[in-house]
Amino acid sequence: MNVYQIVEAVLFASDAPLTAHEIARADEGLDEDQVESALVFLRAEYDDSSRSFELVQVAEGYQILTRPEFASYLERFDNVPRPARLSGPALETLAIIAYRQPIGRLEIEYIRGVGASGVIRTLQDRHLIDVVARSEGLGRPLLYGTTRQFLEHFGFRSLEDLPRPEELPIVLRERTPLGPEDDLAEEDDAVGGEVAEKSTGQLKVATETLEQSSQEAEEPHR
């Protein structure tokens, strides 16, 4: 049995992206480097033999996915499962969480100008976000961050695939808080008398979360 065949079988039998490390579980003799080479080989083979699927890097792992040009054929089938599209509010909320994680509900609501608990619940139910920490601030509110599922849903390899900071207006690039703290205090009125929290370091914590969640995924994929 060749390494590339084993790697292929595992990828084929998984419904979620897998890291080289995860794939290597399939055989005791396998190490990550071997898996990586096999992945390179497979990718080239799928391309050369004009397979209708390809090896895609997504959500910090690898996954075999159909090539986009077949979408119109596949969309005709009820048997082909399609992920539900997210609503506008859900996308806006995700955008905020993706950039400013870890972030609490009150800050999300302040940025969007509308309530967020319903959307947050939906996003959590869909495993696109999760509670990643608790603020040290008053009331120790829950802080949310994005998950690997978030990356998968949007086809991002990692959070680095989000629009780069250089592209963002200066006000946000510097991750200016929403204002001096007394401004947030005022905002209490708008969000129901709760005390607002501050956000701390962003992308760093998000990465930690991802690492942690892959560690915690003690069960294999189907």
Partner: protein, 261 residues
Amino acid sequence: MESVPEREDFMVVEIERFQGPLDLLLHLIRKQDVDIFDIPISTITDQFLKAIKGLAANDIDGAGEFLEMAAGLIRIKAQMLLPRPVGDEEEDPRAELVRRLLEYELIREVSGRLRVAQSQRARRFRKAYIPPRIKRDISEMTLETTWDEVYAAALHIRMPLPRRVDHQVSTRTVSMEEKATLILEALKENASVQFSKLLSGFKERSHGVMTFLAGLELTRRRVLFLRQSSPFQELWIYRRDEEEVDDELVGKLDPEKGVEG
């Protein structure tokens, strides 16, 4: 830029289309090509009120949020009318709103990009049918964890801080005056300066906020103007009138002073 033949017609907006009050407000501002750093608060407030007329009656979800914003606009409008004492370094009543609008605009832009990424990803399909496989019960795996490890973890558990009722207000150590000086200094040499340049060397966020506020304030006094060619570009600060770039100005940030003509 599309022409707006009838102001009245333009004002008939379908409130349901908007994600919330900020979305609506941004729409009103961007649609009319008014300077976001110098919002004609009175006009915009009137338009906003008109747009949300009958909102409560329609029982739209989140009507309260629109009304809340309306109240905020009216408050700002009132504050703008009040004379402000000489040397008062209180921020422009509109500054916080501008910050929120800019940030919201960015989020809207990013969520648009997420939407595109979502559609692109949705054109790819993963292997759908995967035969079920027998998985060994996790409890069959030998657990190597010892009590010492559990106990060590126990020692690190710390009770969450009790909630405090009082609210902490941090002292503002960065003054707007200081930042205004910085901006004017930079503009002595050049006719324009990048906002980001003014922040280099300062780590704390309050510097960014203050520099921004000072920029807004000096814009209001017509000493300079801020330009951003599009939402994702660098913010540039331009000198408006060479003679007025004077150290003295910093000392007398007087509302009357800057308003000319």
